[in-house]
Amino acid sequence: MNSIIITRAGTHSTIQDFGRFQYQHLGVSPSGAMDQRIITELQKIIPNHQNQFLEFAYVGPSIKVTEGSVKICVGGNCNMSIQKNNNSQLEYQPYKSINLFEGDELIIHNTIDSVYGYIAFEHGLGLEPCLNSYSTDTKAGIGSINRPLNDEDIFNISKDVSSWDLISIPKPDLEKATNFKVYPGPQLQYFSDNTLQSFISSVFTITNQSDRMGIRLKGESLISSESHDILSEGILPGSIQVPSDGQPIVLMRDIPCTGGYPKIAILNEEDISRISQLPPETKITFDLQTIY
Protein backbone atom coordinates (compact mmCIF):
# COMPACT_ATOMS: atom_id res chain seq x y z
CA MET A 1 0.00 0.00 0.00
CA ASN A 2 1.11 3.57 -0.75
CA SER A 3 -0.36 6.46 1.21
CA ILE A 4 -0.26 10.23 1.07
CA ILE A 5 -1.62 12.80 3.49
CA ILE A 6 -2.63 16.40 2.75
CA THR A 7 -0.46 18.37 5.18
CA ARG A 8 -1.88 21.71 4.01
CA ALA A 9 -5.01 21.81 1.86
CA GLY A 10 -4.38 25.21 0.27
CA THR A 11 -7.29 27.24 -1.02
CA HIS A 12 -9.99 25.74 -3.23
CA SER A 13 -8.28 22.37 -3.67
CA THR A 14 -10.63 19.83 -5.24
CA ILE A 15 -10.53 16.64 -7.29
CA GLN A 16 -11.41 17.25 -10.96
CA ASP A 17 -11.40 15.49 -14.32
CA PHE A 18 -12.66 16.39 -17.82
CA GLY A 19 -16.24 16.83 -16.58
CA ARG A 20 -19.45 15.06 -15.68
CA PHE A 21 -21.82 14.80 -18.63
CA GLN A 22 -25.28 13.41 -19.47
CA TYR A 23 -26.81 14.62 -16.16
CA GLN A 24 -27.46 18.32 -16.73
CA HIS A 25 -31.19 17.64 -17.40
CA LEU A 26 -31.33 16.38 -13.80
CA GLY A 27 -29.80 19.59 -12.46
CA VAL A 28 -26.21 18.30 -12.30
CA SER A 29 -23.52 20.72 -13.50
CA PRO A 30 -20.69 19.48 -15.78
CA SER A 31 -17.89 20.73 -13.45
CA GLY A 32 -14.40 19.48 -14.43
CA ALA A 33 -10.95 21.09 -14.40
CA MET A 34 -11.04 24.86 -14.94
CA ASP A 35 -7.97 24.72 -17.22
CA GLN A 36 -8.43 21.56 -19.25
CA ARG A 37 -5.34 22.35 -21.33
CA ILE A 38 -3.14 21.53 -18.35
CA ILE A 39 -4.65 18.16 -17.50
CA THR A 40 -4.49 17.33 -21.22
CA GLU A 41 -0.72 17.98 -21.06
CA LEU A 42 -0.33 16.00 -17.82
CA GLN A 43 -1.87 12.96 -19.53
CA LYS A 44 1.28 12.75 -21.68
CA ILE A 45 3.47 12.46 -18.60
CA ILE A 46 1.24 10.33 -16.35
CA PRO A 47 -0.88 8.33 -18.82
CA ASN A 48 -2.38 6.19 -16.06
CA HIS A 49 -3.86 9.09 -14.07
CA GLN A 50 -7.29 7.46 -13.63
CA ASN A 51 -8.91 10.88 -14.20
CA GLN A 52 -8.28 11.82 -10.57
CA PHE A 53 -6.47 15.17 -10.78
CA LEU A 54 -6.00 17.49 -7.83
CA GLU A 55 -6.87 21.08 -8.77
CA PHE A 56 -5.71 24.04 -6.69
CA ALA A 57 -6.05 27.81 -6.98
CA TYR A 58 -3.64 30.54 -5.82
CA VAL A 59 -2.22 28.85 -2.69
CA GLY A 60 -1.31 25.26 -3.47
CA PRO A 61 -1.51 22.22 -1.23
CA SER A 62 1.30 20.32 0.47
CA ILE A 63 1.23 16.55 0.35
CA LYS A 64 3.42 14.07 2.17
CA VAL A 65 4.02 10.40 1.44
CA THR A 66 3.37 8.44 4.65
CA GLU A 67 3.89 4.96 3.24
CA GLY A 68 5.50 3.46 0.12
CA SER A 69 6.06 5.68 -2.90
CA VAL A 70 4.06 7.53 -5.55
CA LYS A 71 4.78 9.00 -8.95
CA ILE A 72 3.29 12.43 -9.53
CA CYS A 73 3.51 15.37 -11.89
CA VAL A 74 2.51 18.98 -11.33
CA GLY A 75 1.12 21.13 -14.14
CA GLY A 76 0.69 24.89 -14.22
CA ASN A 77 2.90 27.81 -13.38
CA CYS A 78 3.82 27.24 -9.71
CA ASN A 79 6.29 28.14 -7.08
CA MET A 80 7.11 24.86 -5.30
CA SER A 81 9.72 22.64 -3.70
CA ILE A 82 10.20 19.13 -2.37
CA GLN A 83 11.27 18.52 1.19
CA LYS A 84 13.10 15.17 1.16
CA ASN A 85 12.88 12.76 4.09
CA ASN A 86 16.55 13.47 4.88
CA ASN A 87 15.68 17.16 5.32
CA SER A 88 17.30 18.25 2.07
CA GLN A 89 15.34 20.45 -0.31
CA LEU A 90 14.87 19.61 -3.94
CA GLU A 91 14.11 21.98 -6.77
CA TYR A 92 11.15 20.80 -8.77
CA GLN A 93 9.76 22.14 -12.05
CA PRO A 94 6.29 21.41 -13.44
CA TYR A 95 5.67 19.04 -16.36
CA LYS A 96 8.30 16.58 -15.11
CA SER A 97 7.25 13.38 -13.38
CA ILE A 98 8.88 12.69 -10.04
CA ASN A 99 8.92 9.77 -7.62
CA LEU A 100 8.16 10.65 -4.02
CA PHE A 101 9.16 8.26 -1.22
CA GLU A 102 8.05 7.80 2.37
CA GLY A 103 8.64 11.06 4.27
CA ASP A 104 8.97 13.21 1.14
CA GLU A 105 6.74 16.28 1.03
CA LEU A 106 5.69 18.25 -2.05
CA ILE A 107 5.09 21.86 -1.07
CA ILE A 108 3.25 24.01 -3.60
CA HIS A 109 3.51 27.60 -2.38
CA ASN A 110 1.42 29.37 -4.99
CA THR A 111 0.55 29.76 -8.63
CA ILE A 112 2.50 32.45 -10.50
CA ASP A 113 0.77 34.98 -12.81
CA SER A 114 -2.09 32.52 -13.12
CA VAL A 115 -4.82 30.98 -10.98
CA TYR A 116 -5.07 27.18 -11.31
CA GLY A 117 -2.56 24.33 -11.07
CA TYR A 118 -2.90 20.56 -11.09
CA ILE A 119 -1.29 17.39 -9.74
CA ALA A 120 -1.60 14.09 -11.61
CA PHE A 121 -0.96 10.88 -9.64
CA GLU A 122 0.02 7.61 -11.26
CA HIS A 123 -2.83 5.09 -10.63
CA GLY A 124 -5.01 7.97 -9.37
CA LEU A 125 -5.92 8.53 -5.71
CA GLY A 126 -7.91 5.36 -5.02
CA LEU A 127 -11.27 7.12 -5.46
CA GLU A 128 -14.63 5.86 -6.71
CA PRO A 129 -16.45 7.83 -9.41
CA CYS A 130 -19.71 9.63 -8.68
CA LEU A 131 -22.20 9.74 -11.60
CA ASN A 132 -19.41 8.55 -13.93
CA SER A 133 -16.97 11.32 -13.01
CA TYR A 134 -14.41 12.18 -10.34
CA SER A 135 -15.11 15.91 -10.54
CA THR A 136 -16.19 17.82 -7.46
CA ASP A 137 -19.07 20.31 -7.41
CA THR A 138 -18.76 21.72 -3.89
CA LYS A 139 -21.95 23.77 -4.14
CA ALA A 140 -24.11 20.78 -5.10
CA GLY A 141 -22.16 18.42 -2.83
CA ILE A 142 -21.40 16.05 -5.70
CA GLY A 143 -18.13 14.25 -6.35
CA SER A 144 -15.98 11.25 -5.50
CA ILE A 145 -15.07 13.61 -2.64
CA ASN A 146 -18.06 15.98 -2.38
CA ARG A 147 -16.20 18.88 -0.71
CA PRO A 148 -12.94 20.80 -0.99
CA LEU A 149 -9.92 18.88 0.33
CA ASN A 150 -9.05 19.33 4.00
CA ASP A 151 -5.84 19.11 5.99
CA GLU A 152 -5.22 15.49 7.07
CA ASP A 153 -7.15 13.96 4.16
CA ILE A 154 -5.50 10.62 3.38
CA PHE A 155 -5.37 8.82 0.05
CA ASN A 156 -4.38 5.19 -0.38
CA ILE A 157 -2.99 4.12 -3.74
CA SER A 158 -2.87 0.32 -3.82
CA LYS A 159 -0.81 -0.09 -7.01
CA ASP A 160 2.93 0.50 -6.81
CA VAL A 161 4.89 2.89 -9.03
CA SER A 162 5.22 1.17 -12.42
CA SER A 163 8.78 2.30 -13.18
CA TRP A 164 11.27 4.73 -11.65
CA ASP A 165 11.88 6.27 -15.09
CA LEU A 166 11.02 9.95 -15.27
CA ILE A 167 9.34 11.72 -18.16
CA SER A 168 9.30 15.40 -18.91
CA ILE A 169 7.83 17.52 -21.67
CA PRO A 170 8.73 21.07 -22.65
CA LYS A 171 6.70 23.55 -20.65
CA PRO A 172 3.57 24.00 -22.81
CA ASP A 173 3.05 27.42 -24.29
CA LEU A 174 -0.41 28.10 -22.86
CA GLU A 175 -1.77 31.18 -24.50
CA LYS A 176 -2.33 34.04 -22.06
CA ALA A 177 -3.62 36.67 -24.49
CA THR A 178 -6.38 38.83 -23.06
CA ASN A 179 -8.44 39.32 -26.22
CA PHE A 180 -11.26 36.80 -26.61
CA LYS A 181 -13.08 35.87 -29.80
CA VAL A 182 -16.68 35.24 -28.83
CA TYR A 183 -19.70 33.89 -30.71
CA PRO A 184 -23.18 35.41 -30.58
CA GLY A 185 -25.22 34.24 -27.58
CA PRO A 186 -28.86 33.11 -27.83
CA GLN A 187 -30.08 36.58 -26.67
CA LEU A 188 -27.67 38.73 -28.69
CA GLN A 189 -30.69 40.55 -30.16
CA TYR A 190 -31.65 41.69 -26.63
CA PHE A 191 -28.87 44.27 -26.94
CA SER A 192 -28.90 47.32 -29.19
CA ASP A 193 -26.18 47.95 -31.76
CA ASN A 194 -24.78 50.68 -29.51
CA THR A 195 -24.55 48.32 -26.55
CA LEU A 196 -22.93 45.63 -28.71
CA GLN A 197 -20.45 48.28 -29.87
CA SER A 198 -19.54 48.99 -26.21
CA PHE A 199 -19.22 45.26 -25.59
CA ILE A 200 -16.59 44.85 -28.32
CA SER A 201 -14.84 48.19 -28.03
CA SER A 202 -14.45 48.63 -24.28
CA VAL A 203 -12.20 46.99 -21.71
CA PHE A 204 -13.54 44.72 -18.95
CA THR A 205 -11.75 43.93 -15.71
CA ILE A 206 -11.83 40.53 -14.02
CA THR A 207 -13.02 41.04 -10.43
CA ASN A 208 -12.15 39.03 -7.34
CA GLN A 209 -15.76 37.84 -7.20
CA SER A 210 -14.79 34.98 -9.47
CA ASP A 211 -14.77 31.28 -8.78
CA ARG A 212 -15.46 27.89 -10.38
CA MET A 213 -19.03 28.97 -11.10
CA GLY A 214 -18.39 32.23 -12.85
CA ILE A 215 -16.04 35.14 -13.52
CA ARG A 216 -17.61 38.50 -12.78
CA LEU A 217 -16.44 41.35 -14.96
CA LYS A 218 -16.47 45.07 -14.32
CA GLY A 219 -16.77 47.57 -17.14
CA GLU A 220 -19.15 49.51 -19.25
CA SER A 221 -22.74 48.70 -18.29
CA LEU A 222 -24.47 46.52 -20.91
CA ILE A 223 -28.14 47.29 -20.47
CA SER A 224 -30.56 45.19 -22.51
CA SER A 225 -33.07 46.98 -24.69
CA GLU A 226 -35.55 44.14 -24.03
CA SER A 227 -35.21 42.53 -20.60
CA HIS A 228 -32.67 41.11 -18.15
CA ASP A 229 -35.15 38.45 -17.04
CA ILE A 230 -35.80 35.60 -19.45
CA LEU A 231 -37.49 32.25 -18.83
CA SER A 232 -34.82 29.89 -17.50
CA GLU A 233 -33.16 27.79 -20.20
CA GLY A 234 -30.22 25.39 -20.49
CA ILE A 235 -26.79 27.05 -20.42
CA LEU A 236 -23.25 25.97 -21.13
CA PRO A 237 -19.88 27.03 -19.75
CA GLY A 238 -18.32 30.01 -21.47
CA SER A 239 -21.67 31.80 -21.83
CA ILE A 240 -21.52 35.50 -21.01
CA GLN A 241 -24.73 36.43 -19.20
CA VAL A 242 -25.78 39.93 -18.28
CA PRO A 243 -27.92 40.51 -15.15
CA SER A 244 -29.84 43.74 -14.65
CA ASP A 245 -26.83 45.69 -13.31
CA GLY A 246 -25.30 45.37 -16.80
CA GLN A 247 -22.05 43.82 -15.52
CA PRO A 248 -21.33 40.61 -17.46
CA ILE A 249 -20.56 37.25 -15.86
CA VAL A 250 -18.65 34.54 -17.75
CA LEU A 251 -20.14 31.22 -16.64
CA MET A 252 -17.48 28.68 -15.81
CA ARG A 253 -17.37 24.90 -15.12
CA ASP A 254 -19.70 24.68 -12.08
CA ILE A 255 -22.52 26.45 -13.94
CA PRO A 256 -26.05 26.49 -12.67
CA CYS A 257 -27.86 24.07 -15.02
CA THR A 258 -30.40 26.58 -16.27
CA GLY A 259 -30.26 30.36 -16.19
CA GLY A 260 -32.64 33.27 -16.48
CA TYR A 261 -30.37 36.09 -17.67
CA PRO A 262 -29.86 37.03 -21.33
CA LYS A 263 -26.61 35.71 -22.81
CA ILE A 264 -24.90 38.23 -25.07
CA ALA A 265 -22.10 35.94 -26.28
CA ILE A 266 -20.20 32.73 -25.62
CA LEU A 267 -16.51 31.79 -25.54
CA ASN A 268 -15.17 28.76 -27.35
CA GLU A 269 -14.14 25.74 -25.25
CA GLU A 270 -10.37 26.42 -25.36
CA ASP A 271 -10.92 30.00 -24.18
CA ILE A 272 -12.80 28.88 -21.04
CA SER A 273 -9.48 27.37 -19.93
CA ARG A 274 -7.57 30.50 -20.97
CA ILE A 275 -9.83 32.97 -19.14
CA SER A 276 -9.84 30.80 -15.99
CA GLN A 277 -6.12 31.53 -15.56
CA LEU A 278 -6.41 35.32 -15.60
CA PRO A 279 -6.15 36.73 -12.06
CA PRO A 280 -8.44 39.50 -10.74
CA GLU A 281 -7.64 42.99 -12.12
CA THR A 282 -6.65 41.57 -15.52
CA LYS A 283 -8.09 43.68 -18.33
CA ILE A 284 -9.74 41.81 -21.17
CA THR A 285 -11.49 42.61 -24.46
CA PHE A 286 -13.98 40.79 -26.65
CA ASP A 287 -14.12 40.35 -30.39
CA LEU A 288 -17.50 39.22 -31.71
CA GLN A 289 -17.38 36.60 -34.47
CA THR A 290 -20.34 36.66 -36.80
CA ILE A 291 -19.70 33.45 -38.73
CA TYR A 292 -19.63 30.17 -36.85
Binding site: G19, F21, Q22, Y23, Q24, H25, L26, G27, V28, P30, C130, L131, A140, G141, I142, Y183, P184, G185, P186, L231, S232, E233, G234, I235, L236, G238, S239, P256, C257, T258, A265, I266, L267, N268, E269, Y292
Partner: protein
Protein backbone atom coordinates in the same frame (compact mmCIF):
# COMPACT_ATOMS: atom_id res chain seq x y z
CA UNK B 1 -46.68 21.82 -33.00
CA UNK B 2 -45.00 24.64 -31.12
CA UNK B 3 -41.53 23.84 -32.54
CA UNK B 4 -40.09 26.89 -34.33
CA UNK B 5 -36.64 25.79 -35.43
CA UNK B 6 -33.04 25.00 -34.48
CA UNK B 7 -30.56 27.78 -33.72
CA UNK B 8 -26.86 27.73 -32.89
CA UNK B 9 -25.64 28.40 -29.37
CA UNK B 10 -22.03 29.44 -29.75
CA UNK B 11 -19.64 27.11 -31.56
CA UNK B 12 -20.76 23.87 -29.92
CA UNK B 13 -24.41 24.13 -28.87
CA UNK B 14 -27.85 24.03 -30.44
CA UNK B 15 -31.12 25.48 -29.18
CA UNK B 16 -34.39 23.85 -30.21
CA UNK B 17 -36.86 26.69 -29.98
CA UNK B 18 -40.52 26.23 -29.01
CA UNK B 19 -41.39 29.94 -28.88
CA UNK B 20 -41.45 32.35 -25.95
CA UNK B 21 -44.65 31.30 -24.18
CA UNK B 22 -44.96 28.77 -21.39
CA UNK B 23 -47.78 26.27 -20.85
CA UNK B 24 -48.28 22.64 -20.01
CA UNK B 25 -48.98 21.73 -23.64
CA UNK B 26 -45.74 23.42 -24.79
CA UNK B 27 -43.83 21.53 -22.11
CA UNK B 28 -45.48 18.25 -23.12
CA UNK B 29 -44.14 18.77 -26.63
CA UNK B 30 -40.71 19.81 -25.29
CA UNK B 31 -40.49 16.74 -23.08
CA UNK B 32 -41.63 14.41 -25.86
CA UNK B 33 -38.99 15.83 -28.21
CA UNK B 34 -36.45 15.53 -25.36
CA UNK B 35 -37.15 11.78 -25.13
CA UNK B 36 -37.08 11.39 -28.91
CA UNK B 37 -33.70 13.05 -29.33
CA UNK B 38 -32.31 11.34 -26.22
CA UNK B 39 -33.07 8.08 -28.03
CA UNK B 40 -31.13 9.15 -31.14
CA UNK B 41 -27.84 8.31 -29.39
CA UNK B 42 -26.32 11.60 -30.50
CA UNK B 43 -22.67 12.27 -29.68
CA UNK B 44 -23.87 14.99 -27.30
CA UNK B 45 -22.54 15.92 -23.85
CA UNK B 46 -25.85 17.17 -22.43
CA UNK B 47 -29.45 17.60 -23.57
CA UNK B 48 -31.26 20.13 -21.37
CA UNK B 49 -35.02 20.71 -21.63
CA UNK B 50 -36.66 23.76 -20.01
CA UNK B 51 -40.03 25.55 -20.39
CA UNK B 52 -39.79 26.24 -24.13
CA UNK B 53 -36.24 25.36 -25.22
CA UNK B 54 -34.04 22.30 -25.49
CA UNK B 55 -30.31 23.01 -25.42
CA UNK B 56 -28.04 20.33 -26.86
CA UNK B 57 -24.33 20.58 -26.11
CA UNK B 58 -21.48 18.96 -28.06
CA UNK B 59 -17.74 18.74 -27.56
CA UNK B 60 -16.95 20.92 -30.58
CA UNK B 61 -18.46 22.52 -33.68
CA UNK B 62 -17.49 19.62 -35.96
CA UNK B 63 -19.44 17.07 -33.90
CA UNK B 64 -22.27 19.59 -33.49
CA UNK B 65 -22.59 20.03 -37.26
CA UNK B 66 -22.44 16.25 -37.85
CA UNK B 67 -25.31 15.69 -35.41
CA UNK B 68 -27.51 18.63 -36.36
CA UNK B 69 -28.99 16.85 -39.41
CA UNK B 70 -30.04 13.88 -37.28
CA UNK B 71 -32.04 16.20 -35.04
CA UNK B 72 -33.54 18.09 -38.02
CA UNK B 73 -34.63 14.81 -39.61
CA UNK B 74 -36.21 13.64 -36.38
CA UNK B 75 -38.11 16.92 -36.04
CA UNK B 76 -39.46 16.57 -39.60
CA UNK B 77 -40.62 13.02 -38.99
CA UNK B 78 -44.13 13.88 -37.82
CA UNK B 79 -45.06 10.23 -37.35
CA UNK B 80 -42.41 9.76 -34.69
CA UNK B 81 -44.27 9.28 -31.45
CA UNK B 82 -42.72 8.28 -28.18
CA UNK B 83 -44.06 4.75 -27.92
CA UNK B 84 -42.59 3.88 -24.55
CA UNK B 85 -44.55 5.58 -21.81
CA UNK B 86 -41.80 6.26 -19.33
CA UNK B 87 -43.43 9.03 -17.34
CA UNK B 88 -44.82 8.24 -13.93
CA UNK B 89 -47.74 9.43 -11.84
CA UNK B 90 -46.78 10.12 -8.24
CA UNK B 91 -48.81 10.40 -5.03
CA UNK B 92 -46.45 12.13 -2.59
CA UNK B 93 -47.12 12.42 1.16
CA UNK B 94 -46.73 16.02 2.37
CA UNK B 95 -46.77 17.33 5.92
CA UNK B 96 -48.08 20.91 6.14
CA UNK B 97 -47.45 21.06 9.91
CA UNK B 98 -46.55 24.52 11.21
CA UNK B 99 -42.99 23.35 11.98
CA UNK B 100 -42.44 22.98 8.24
CA UNK B 101 -44.84 25.56 6.78
CA UNK B 102 -42.50 28.50 7.32
CA UNK B 103 -44.22 30.90 4.91
CA UNK B 104 -47.79 29.59 4.73
CA UNK B 105 -49.09 32.71 6.52
CA UNK B 106 -47.79 34.90 3.68
CA UNK B 107 -49.99 32.96 1.24
CA UNK B 108 -52.98 33.00 3.65
CA UNK B 109 -52.68 36.74 4.07
CA UNK B 110 -52.17 37.52 0.38
CA UNK B 111 -55.24 35.55 -0.67
CA UNK B 112 -57.33 35.93 2.52
CA UNK B 113 -57.76 32.18 2.98
CA UNK B 114 -57.30 29.77 5.90
CA UNK B 115 -54.41 27.37 6.38
CA UNK B 116 -56.78 24.45 5.64
CA UNK B 117 -57.74 26.07 2.35
CA UNK B 118 -54.07 26.43 1.35
CA UNK B 119 -53.47 22.75 2.15
CA UNK B 120 -56.63 21.58 0.38
CA UNK B 121 -55.88 23.68 -2.69
CA UNK B 122 -52.22 22.66 -2.88
CA UNK B 123 -53.05 18.95 -2.55
CA UNK B 124 -56.03 19.08 -4.94
CA UNK B 125 -54.06 19.41 -8.18
CA UNK B 126 -52.16 16.89 -10.29
CA UNK B 127 -49.02 18.87 -11.12
CA UNK B 128 -46.93 18.55 -14.27
CA UNK B 129 -43.12 18.30 -13.98
CA UNK B 130 -41.98 21.02 -16.37
CA UNK B 131 -38.30 20.24 -15.96
CA UNK B 132 -35.56 19.51 -13.41
CA UNK B 133 -33.12 22.32 -12.72
CA UNK B 134 -31.75 24.93 -10.32
CA UNK B 135 -30.08 22.20 -8.23
CA UNK B 136 -29.70 18.41 -8.61
CA UNK B 137 -33.16 16.77 -8.67
CA UNK B 138 -35.17 20.01 -8.14
CA UNK B 139 -38.56 19.65 -9.95
CA UNK B 140 -40.40 22.68 -11.37
CA UNK B 141 -44.06 21.62 -10.89
CA UNK B 142 -47.17 23.45 -12.00
CA UNK B 143 -49.51 25.03 -12.23
CA UNK B 144 -50.73 25.84 -8.74
CA UNK B 145 -54.39 26.91 -8.33
CA UNK B 146 -54.80 30.66 -8.94
CA UNK B 147 -55.64 31.28 -5.24
CA UNK B 148 -52.11 30.12 -4.32
CA UNK B 149 -50.08 32.12 -6.85
CA UNK B 150 -47.57 34.08 -4.74
CA UNK B 151 -44.41 36.00 -5.66
CA UNK B 152 -41.00 34.89 -4.41
CA UNK B 153 -39.88 36.09 -0.97
CA UNK B 154 -38.55 39.65 -1.15
CA UNK B 155 -35.44 38.48 0.71
CA UNK B 156 -34.42 34.91 -0.15
CA UNK B 157 -33.91 32.56 2.79
CA UNK B 158 -30.27 31.60 3.38
CA UNK B 159 -31.06 28.04 4.43
CA UNK B 160 -34.18 26.23 3.32
CA UNK B 161 -34.49 22.83 5.03
CA UNK B 162 -34.03 19.77 2.80
CA UNK B 163 -37.26 18.23 1.36
CA UNK B 164 -39.20 21.48 1.78
CA UNK B 165 -42.17 22.16 -0.50
CA UNK B 166 -42.25 25.68 -1.95
CA UNK B 167 -44.49 27.94 -4.01
CA UNK B 168 -43.29 30.78 -6.25
CA UNK B 169 -45.50 32.44 -8.83
CA UNK B 170 -47.55 29.67 -10.46
CA UNK B 171 -45.05 26.90 -9.66
CA UNK B 172 -44.50 24.56 -6.75
CA UNK B 173 -41.30 22.64 -6.01
CA UNK B 174 -39.44 20.35 -3.63
CA UNK B 175 -35.95 21.32 -2.44
CA UNK B 176 -33.89 18.06 -2.63
CA UNK B 177 -31.39 19.31 -0.05
CA UNK B 178 -30.59 22.29 2.14
CA UNK B 179 -30.23 25.37 -0.05
CA UNK B 180 -30.62 29.12 -0.18
CA UNK B 181 -33.77 30.11 -2.05
CA UNK B 182 -36.70 32.46 -2.43
CA UNK B 183 -39.72 30.16 -2.64
CA UNK B 184 -42.51 30.38 -0.02
CA UNK B 185 -42.17 27.24 2.10
CA UNK B 186 -45.46 25.51 2.97
CA UNK B 187 -44.53 21.96 4.03
CA UNK B 188 -42.11 19.08 3.84
CA UNK B 189 -42.00 15.57 2.37
CA UNK B 190 -40.60 12.64 4.40
CA UNK B 191 -37.92 11.32 2.01
CA UNK B 192 -35.02 12.26 -0.28
CA UNK B 193 -35.75 12.74 -3.97
CA UNK B 194 -32.14 12.76 -5.20
CA UNK B 195 -29.78 9.87 -4.48
CA UNK B 196 -26.24 9.70 -5.83
CA UNK B 197 -26.07 5.97 -5.10
CA UNK B 198 -28.71 5.35 -7.74
CA UNK B 199 -27.72 4.98 -11.41
CA UNK B 200 -30.62 7.32 -12.24
CA UNK B 201 -30.32 9.71 -9.31
CA UNK B 202 -33.47 11.88 -9.63
CA UNK B 203 -36.84 10.58 -8.39
CA UNK B 204 -38.76 12.82 -10.79
CA UNK B 205 -38.37 13.09 -14.55
CA UNK B 206 -39.52 15.92 -16.80
CA UNK B 207 -43.10 15.05 -17.77
CA UNK B 208 -44.01 13.17 -14.56
CA UNK B 209 -47.36 13.94 -12.89
CA UNK B 210 -47.16 14.71 -9.16
CA UNK B 211 -50.01 14.96 -6.65
CA UNK B 212 -49.47 15.70 -2.97
CA UNK B 213 -51.63 14.31 -0.14
CA UNK B 214 -51.59 15.71 3.38
CA UNK B 215 -50.25 13.50 6.21
CA UNK B 216 -50.10 14.14 9.96
CA UNK B 217 -46.81 14.75 11.75
CA UNK B 218 -46.86 11.24 13.25
CA UNK B 219 -47.50 9.66 9.83
CA UNK B 220 -44.69 11.86 8.39
CA UNK B 221 -42.27 10.61 11.06
CA UNK B 222 -43.29 7.00 10.43
CA UNK B 223 -42.55 7.28 6.69
CA UNK B 224 -39.30 9.18 7.34
CA UNK B 225 -38.03 6.29 9.52
CA UNK B 226 -38.21 3.87 6.58
CA UNK B 227 -35.34 5.62 4.77
CA UNK B 228 -36.69 4.44 1.44
CA UNK B 229 -34.30 4.01 -1.49
CA UNK B 230 -35.33 5.56 -4.82
CA UNK B 231 -36.38 2.13 -6.12
CA UNK B 232 -38.56 1.52 -3.05
CA UNK B 233 -40.10 4.98 -3.47
CA UNK B 234 -40.96 4.20 -7.10
CA UNK B 235 -42.77 1.01 -5.99
CA UNK B 236 -44.50 2.69 -3.07
CA UNK B 237 -45.57 6.06 -4.47
CA UNK B 238 -45.78 5.92 -8.25
CA UNK B 239 -47.82 4.20 -10.90
Amino acid sequence: MYFKGINSYGDRGLVLDFGNETSKSISQEVNEVFLNISNLNLQSLNIIPSFNKIVVIFENSKIRDQNKDKISLKMKDTNSQTNKKINKTWEIPACYNEDFALDIKIIQKLHQITKEEVVNLHSSVRYYTYYIGFMPGFPYLGDVPSQLITPRLATPRVKIPARSIGIAKNHTCIYPKVSPGGWNIIGQIPFDIFDLQSSYPSLFLPGDEVKFYAVSLSEFKKIKKHNFSLNELIKEYSS
